[in-house]
Amino acid sequence: MWIALFCLSGLGLVASLGLGLAAKRFAVEVDPRVEEVERVLPGVNDGGCGYPSCSQFARAVVEGKAPVNGCVAGGEDTALALAEVMGVEAVIGEKRVAVVLCKGGREESKTKFTYRGVENCKAAVLVSGGDKACPYGCLGLGTCKRVCPFDAVVISEDGLAVIDTQRCTGCGICVKECPKGIIQLVPIGKRVSILCQSGEKGSEVRKKCDVGCIACETCVRVCPFDAIFMEGNLAVLDHERCQVCGLCIPRCPTHTIEARDGPFPPVEIMADKCSGCGICSMICPVSAIEGDKKEVHRVLEGRCVGCLLCIDRCPKDAIGIEVPINSAVELASR
């Protein structure tokens, strides 16, 4: 009994001595701010900042090599907190989210062959470029889902990768990893996107997919802000210029253009404020407002696409919109 007690205590003593010595001997000097920075970071090691881990990013921030707003996952709050730790001012940009620029699921698009093999887009493209007939088609085998550190990707039943904008932090990993290169980062408020990346001729696209861009250029003509231009056979949306009016959406014959988070709500005219000046009916690009001069104007149901162009122009502030609570954020940025 005593021997055992003695032995164990002795052992403990020796071990603790060793530990203590090691702690002294091999101690590494760390800038205390590194730990502070690390505490503020989300700690998911997503790599969106360009560093392999949060602690490496933290070190870079302290050394002044990385900007305080470098953490995409953490967003605004983290940037502000980091700026406080570092005693600098943070420049905050609008949050961005990833969008998969393909709408051609298994139903809408054709395949070249039946694929059997590893469920990973990057491995699948090694077999004749993947089974989709369209070389720009989402394969839906979920490489983006695998790499997403925030669980923000779901593969739809139709075999398309869809990004949950609520969860997406815009870290951009999926953009880099997608073997088809069809994921793009866009400012969260710019919720209109042209969901096709195919540069093939319209006739080719038609053969392969029901919802691909066929280069009809309708959207280019429709856009009141010149935000859409043609890049070869593909309509491309310039998000800087896009005012999110949504006018292009109903005009696209292949329904390639889509707004995230549902359709745009129509405007309403408040009868008590309307003076009947008629400006709104004049500028409405879809002729959705009618009314006689000096009379209260009304919005034609089913016509209004919710572009909101009239709201700013109404001198009486008589045009408004019934705002669903969850899209208030987006509206604010419009």
Binding site: K112, V118, N120, V127, S128
Partner: protein, 441 residues
């Protein structure tokens, strides 16, 4: 009997050599061919013709663009219909020249035959081989003139003439050895002259006793050449395994070449093509392709023009025997399955294997039970299951440390795996990822 060394690993799948007794048949020149500008490993050719041009058989239509590159030639006479992207056996559209036949099938008159070819200096021979577009015809399609020009500091002592044909189903080389043995031997002598070696080993798997006898009979008076009968074991015909078996030398890891261990391996088909190129100035515009598998009515060995669409070959063999499942270009172990029957025969197309729908296995992988079969079967002495796990978890650095880059993609691991894990695809994925990362860095 000379002692043979064995390579470790390997498998012995059912041979299925349906067409080994069918003599080579000439497939008549098609009405239209699509001659890809990239039929070899290395830089693709530059097209030298434009739509509307008239060409004759043997005219150059693509010019080599660098040392590791060879010319391509018109395989029929007629008019150039298009130069652009066409389906390619690699699975994606690649630049090619489309020729429509004028029905004459006339040869070009630029041919310069050499009767006294053995008197030509080695450099001139190499030049001819390059001009005539000769590439390795065993499947990999590596430009032959490059292989035949080892640097001075790498002395070569042995030429290995590869007639192993270890892939199941394929019999093109076998038939060639029976029907064009003389050409192969002359080709071997030319290659040996270029390399300055005095030892040539004709290596044939022992499941082709008639070819072994034929070759033995022909080399009796040629002391530099010998015939070796090899044990039937896939991948016996892979360069590195062949050198190991015959010379007991291992080609160094990560990017080592046979020339590093003093050996050059040439496929029998390549040697026959070398002979024809040097003797008759005949460019490589045709090859022997085995069309086989239980999915075609009559398996055959066909002499086909480069650029002939797959469809024509299958029709020549009586069409599909039942509902088609897979059409594989190359052998069943390393070949590439195709999605279009428009894909043309290229210089490296050793065979077309058709599997009926009912024969294609379901690809449902089960978990690895660590049976170790893949480790025992791997001729590169890797641990495929470990590499597969690394690939699945995107652990590419670890995969690299476990030498994934030395995988020769022979498919042995995948063949033996009881859990049906697509190991080759996983390893190819890891290799591709490592290469892209290297490029990015």
């Amino acid at each position: 009997m000379k002692r043979l060394y064995l390579f470790q690993g390997g498998i012995h799948p059912s041979e299925q050599k349906f067409s080994q007794n069918s003599p080579i048949e000439e497939l008549k020149a098609p009405d239209r061919v699509v001659v890809p500008l990239s039929q070899h490993i290395g830089a693709p050719c530059q097209a030298t013709v434009a739509p509307g041009d008239r060409v004759r058989k043997g005219d150059r239509v693509g010019q080599a663009t660098g040392f590791v590159s060879v010319n391509v030639h018109a395989s029929i006479s007629g008019m150039i219909r298009g130069v652009g992207l066409f389906p390619h056996p690699l699975g994606r559209p690649l630049p090619a020249v489309e020729i429509e036949s004028d029905g004459e099938d006339a040869w070009t008159d630029n041919l310069k035959p050499h009767e006294d070819y053995m008197d030509l200096p080695p450099e001139a021979l190499t030049e001819i081989i390059r001009d005539m577009g000769i590439v390795g015809m065993g499947g990999a399609a590596f430009p032959t003139h490059v292989k035949l020009s080892p640097p001075k500091e790498k002395p070569i002592d042995t030429l290995i003439i590869n007639g192993a044909e270890c892939e199941p189903y394929l019999t093109a080389d076998h038939r060639l050895m029976l029907e064009e043995a003389e050409n192969i031997i002359e080709g071997a002598r030319i290659a040996m002259r270029i390399l300055g070696v005095d030892r040539g080993v004709i290596a044939i798997e022992s499941n082709k006793p008639d070819a072994i006898d034929k070759m033995k009979g022909l080399i009796e008076d040629i002391p530099e050449l010998e015939v070796l009968a090899l044990k039937v074991r896939y991948p016996q015909g892979a360069e590195k395994q062949l050198i190991k078996t015959i010379l007991n030398r291992e080609v160094p890891f990560s990017g080592g070449l046979p020339m590093d261990v003093g050996a050059i391996v040439q496929n029998v088909g390549t040697l026959s093509a070398i002979y024809k190129a040097v003797r008759f100035a005949a460019p490589l515009i045709e090859r022997i392709t085995t069309v086989t598998g239980s999915g075609v009515r009559q398996p055959k060995n066909l002499r086909v023009r480069i650029g002939t669409p797959t469809k024509a070959l299958i029709e020549a063999c009586g069409g599909f025997s039942s509902e088609v499942g897979k059409v594989i270009m190359g052998g069943p172990m390393m070949g590439v399955s195709q999605y279009s029957l428009e894909v043309p025969v290229v210089k490296g197309t050793s065979g077309i294997v058709v599997q009926p729908f009912s024969e294609v296995e379901e690809g449902s992988a089960q978990p690895c039970i660590r049976c170790g079969s893949c480790v025992r079967a791997c001729p590169a002495r890797l641990m495929p299951t470990v590499l597969g796990v690394f690939a699945q978890l995107d652990m590419f650095e670890e995969a690299q440390r476990y030498d994934v880059m030395d995988c020769i993609e022979c498919g042995c691991c995948n063949y033996v795996c009881p859990a049906k894990i697509p190991l080759v695809q996983l390893l190819r994925y890891a290799k591709a990822e490592i290469l892209t990362r290297r490029k990015a860095a």
